[in-house]
Amino acid sequence: MDFYTDKKFIFMVALFILAAAGLVFFPRLAGLILIGSLIIFGAFALSWKEPHIKLSGMALLVLLALLNIYVNGIKFGIDFSGGTRIPVILDKAVDDATMADLVKTIKTRASVLGLTEVKVQAIGNTEINVEIPSSDEATISLIETTLSHQGVYQGIVDGKLAVSGDRIFSSSIKPLDSAELTQQGADWGVAFAVDQAGAEQFAEAAKGKADYPIYMYLDRPHDVAIFYERVQFRKDMMADAGEKESLKALNDALKFEGDSIPIYIVEDMDANFSAPNNHTKAIVSVNMSKAAKDSIVAKGFILEEINASMVTPTYSRTRSGVLMLDKLEISGLLTAPILSGGITNGIPNYNYVVTGSVQATNPADKAKEAQNRVKEIESILKGGSLPVQISLGSRTSLPASLGAESLRLSVIAIVLSLLTIAILIGLRYRDIAATLPIVLISLAEFIILVSILGSFTIDLAAMAGILAAIGVGVDAQIVITDELLKKDEEHKTSEKIDLAFGIIKTNAIVAIFSMVPLLFSGLVEVIGFAISTILGALLGYLLTRPAYAALVEKVLDAEKKGIIGGSEGSEKSPGIGF
C-alpha cells in the first residue's frame, strides 16, 4: 500500500495545510496554532497504529515549526535582543482581575504611542514590568511620562469649573447597588463624595443650572483649537440638526473661563484671522485635505494631525430637545450627564451620584452595558484608567550588542550539547542504526520547541528550559532503545515497546504535573522555564517517542533480517499497540 494514498495520511496533510495557512494569516496566534497541531497530530500518533502516521505526524510538525520560524520569525526577550525594562510599582497589592485590567490599560497607553512591541507583564501582585525593544533615550522617557501620568478630572457646568478631581475622595467613588439604583430609577450609577472646598465650588457653579449638562473632561488640553472641513463636519452632525446648531453645541461644551477650545470650519476662516499666539495647536483629522492643512498652517498654527475617530463629535438631545455635545475625545470630553434639579439650589452638598440609562433591551446586554458605563465613569472620576497609584522603578537597559552575544553563545552551547550527546549515545550503543534516530529526533524536538516558544518570547529562563529539554528529551529514547536491544526471547518486539511506553507515559505525566503548579504561580521569571519543560514532555510523549519507536524498530528489524537500511513506510510492522 502506498502511504500517500492512505486516507488518514491525506487527512493529516489537509490539517497541515490548514495549520500552515493559520500560521501565515494569523501570526498572533502562531504559538497556539502550533501547540494545537502538536496535540492533534499527537492524538493521531497515539490512536492510529501505522508507523508512517507516527513518522509523518512528526515530520509535518517539524515543517510547520520551520514555516513558522521562516514566516513569523522568533521573538526574543530583551536579554537577547537588547532593550529596556521599566518596573512599574503599584501603590498597593491588587487582585488578579484588577491586575489584568492594569496590564491591558498600560498596553493600550503604550500602543497609543505607536510602540506595538511593548511587552507588559505582571510580577506578583504589586509590580508590572514593561519591556520595550529600544534603548533610545527619547523613546524611554516618552514611555515613562506616559506611564506615570495621572489624569486630571474636571467637571464643567456652563463654562465654569464645578468639580475637580483633587477635591474628590478617591475611596468614595463606588458603583450604586441595586437597591440604590431602583431608588434612583436608573440602570447604572456611580456615587462619589467631595471635601468641603469641593462642595462649595460645586454649589456655586451649579446654582440655578438644573437640566444643564455637566461636561466631564479628563486631561482637557490647553491652548488648542479644533478645525473641521465643512463636508466632514456636516457628515458627523445628527440627522435632524443644522450646522449652526451643531457649532453652538460644540462651542457651549468647550467653553471654559479663560481657556475655551474654539471650533473653526476651515472654509469660514477670513483673511485677517490668525492664531492667538505662536504655540497654539490646531487639531485636525488625518483625513483633512492638504490644501486645508496648508491654509491652517499659513494662519500661524502648529498643526497636529489626529486619528479621525478622536476628532469626531458625538451629539445627543436633552429631554427638552436642546442639541448638546456628548463626547469629543480629543478635547478630553468623555461624557456629559445632566444635572438634576436637587443639587442646583446653591447649598453645598458632599455626596453625588452620576446615573444613567442604557439602550440595550435584553437583560444580559443591559447588564454588560451598565457595567461598562460604571467602569468608564469610575475611571474618569479617578483621573485616568489606572485603578491604583503607580510609581516607576529604576530601569534596566541592555545594549543590543550584548544581547546578541549572549544569544550567539547560547546557540553554541546548544549545538555543543547536541553533539556531545550524539557522541555519548554512539559510544554507549556502538550502533549507528540506534544512534542516528536519537540524534535526528532530538533535533526535530529542538526545532519544534524553539518555534513554539519563539512565537511567544524566548527569555533567559526559556532558553535554559530548551537546553534542559534536549538533555531530558533523549531519556525516553534511551528507555526504548535499551528495551529493544535487550536479549529477551520471552517478549516480542511489540511487547517490549509496550513495556517501554508504560514507563515513558508515567514519566511524561509526572514531569508535566511537577511543572504545572509553577505555570499557575504567576512567577513570570520562571514561567518560560516551566513552559519549555512541559512542552518538551508533551511533545515527547505524544509525537517524538512514538515516531522514534516506529523508526528504530523498523531499522532494528531490518538489521536482524540482514537488510541494510530498511525500507521506509512500504511495509507494515506487526501490530504495534500503545
Partner: protein, 363 residues
C-alpha cells in the same frame, strides 16, 4: 562497558554513600544564601566600560554610606560587576505605613463627609483622623518632608501628600544606591532589580504553595500508577533525598536561592521521579531475577542521567563564560541534583524496592 552487578551480594551496604551525602548536605543547607527574590533588596548588574577592583569599589561605596557587596567577573562579553544592596529598613517601614494608611483611609473619608452634615460624627471623625495623621507624620519623617509646608485641609489632601511622600522614600532609596555607583563606575549597561518586602513575601508564599502542591501531586500520581504503598514511599524518599543533596550543593558552592534555582529544584523532582519510576516498573512489573532487573534498570537510568548531565554541563559552561545568573543558578542546581539523583536512586530507592520485591517473593 560492562560493570559488575552491584546488586549481587549484600546490596544494603549501597545505602551508605547516599546517607553520608545527605548528612553532609544537611550540614550545609543552612548556609544557603537567599537571593534578592526571596530576601528583598536590590541587585545591580553592570556591564563595565573599564575594569575595576571589587574591593576598591566596595570601600568607595562604603564611604558614601552604601553597605554593598561587590563582585567583579571577567566574562567573554566583557567585565561584569554585581552589587548587592540589602533591604532598606526605611523601605520596609514605608511599606508597612502605606498598608496601614490605605486600610484606614476609606473610614476617615467617609466620616469626614458625614461630619460635614451631621456634627454627631465629629468626635469619631477627629479620633480616626488623628490616627491617620499619626501614620502620615511617620511617613513624612521617613521622607524628610516638612509637614508645616503642606497645605492639608482634609483627608483628601493628606492622601495626596502621603502618596508623594511614599514615592519620595522609594526614590531616595534608589538614589542612595544609584548616585554612588554612577560616581565611581563607568558602565555600558545597568540592570537594577529591586524586590520590595511585599514582593519577596509574595514570592515566598507562592514558592511554598508550589512545593506543597507539587509534592502532593507526585505522591498521588505514583500511588495511582503502582497501587502499592512501599514504592510510593520509596519514590517520595528518593525525591526528598535528591532535593536535599541538591540543596546541600547550593550551600557548598554558594548558589543563591532565587526563583531560578527554585524552578531548577522543582524540575529535579520531576527528574528524580523519572529514574525512580523506571526502576520501580522494571522491578515490580517484570519477571526474571529482580537483582538482574535492578542492574539493567540502573544501566538505563545512569545513561539517562548522564545525558541530562551533559546538557546542563553545557549550560553551566555557558554560565561560567557569560556570568548570566539565570543560567548559572539553573545549571548548577541541576548538576548537583543529578549527581544526587544517581546516588540516591540507585543507593536508596533500588535497595528499598528490591528488598520489598524479594520479601514479596518469599511469601
Amino acid at each position: 562497558m560492562e560493570l559488575p552487578n552491584i546488586y549481587k551480594g549484600n546490596y544494603k551496604l549501597l545505602m551508605i554513600p547516599p546517607i553520608i551525602m545527605i548528612l553532609i548536605s544537611l550540614y550545609f543547607i543552612p548556609q544557603i544564601k537567599m537571593g534578592v527574590d526571596f530576601q528583598g533588596g536590590t541587585l545591580i548588574t553592570l556591564a563595565l566600560k573599564e575594569p575595576i577592583s571589587a574591593d576598591t569599589l566596595s570601600s568607595e561605596l562604603k564611604s558614601e554610606g552604601l553597605d554593598a557587596k561587590v563582585q567583579v567577573y571577567k566574562t567573554t562579553v566583557g567585565d561584569k560587576a554585581e552589587i548587592e544592596v540589602p533591604q532598606s529598613q526605611d523601605l520596609v517601614k514605608a511599606e508597612y505605613l502605606r498598608n496601614n494608611f490605605t486600610a484606614l483611609l476609606p473610614t476617615v473619608s467617609d466620616l469626614e463627609v458625614r461630619a460635614y452634615r451631621d456634627p454627631n460624627y465629629t468626635a469619631q471623625f477627629n479620633e480616626e483622623n488623628q490616627k491617620l495623621n499619626a501614620i502620615a507624620d511617620q511617613m513624612f519623617l521617613l521622607a524628610k518632608l516638612d509637614r508645616s509646608k503642606m497645605n492639608i485641609t482634609g483627608s483628601n489632601d493628606l492622601e495626596k501628600y502621603f502618596s508623594s511622600a511614599y514615592s519620595t522614600v522609594y526614590k531616595n532609596y534608589e538614589l542612595s544606591v544609584s548616585v554612588p555607583i554612577d560616581k565611581y563606575v563607568k558602565y555600558d549597561s545597568i540592570s537594577v532589580q529591586t524586590v520590595s518586602p511585599v514582593l519577596s513575601s509574595h514570592f515566598i508564599g507562592q514558592a511554598v504553595n508550589v512545593v506543597l502542591f507539587c509534592a502532593f501531586l507526585s505522591v498521588v500520581l505514583v500511588f495511582l500508577f503502582f497501587r502499592d504503598i512501599v514504592p510510593s514511599i520509596a519514590v517520595l524518599t528518593g525525591s526528598i533525598a535528591d532535593i536535599t543533596i541538591a540543596m546541600g550543593g547550593m550551600g557548598i558552592f554558594g548558589i543563591p536561592f532565587t526563583l531560578q534555582s527554585f524552578a531548577a529544584l522543582l524540575m529535579l523532582i520531576g527528574f528524580s521521579l523519572d529514574t525512580d519510576i523506571l526502576l520501580t516498573t522494571r522491578l515490580l512489573k517484570r519477571r526474571g531475577n529482580p537483582r538482574d532487573n535492578a542492574y539493567d534498570a540502573m544501566k538505563t537510568g545512569v545513561t539517562m542521567s548522564i545525558m541530562a548531565l551533559v546538557s546542563f554541563m553545557a549550560l553551566f559552561v555557558l554560565a561560567m563564560l557569560t556570568h548570566i545568573d539565570t543560567y548559572y543558578e539553573i545549571s548548577a542546581v541541576a548538576l548537583a541534583g543529578l549527581v544526587g539523583d544517581i546516588v540516591a536512586t540507585w543507593g536508596i530507592n533500588a535497595v528499598v524496592v528490591l528488598n520489598h520485591k524479594e520479601s514479596m517473593g518469599d511469601k
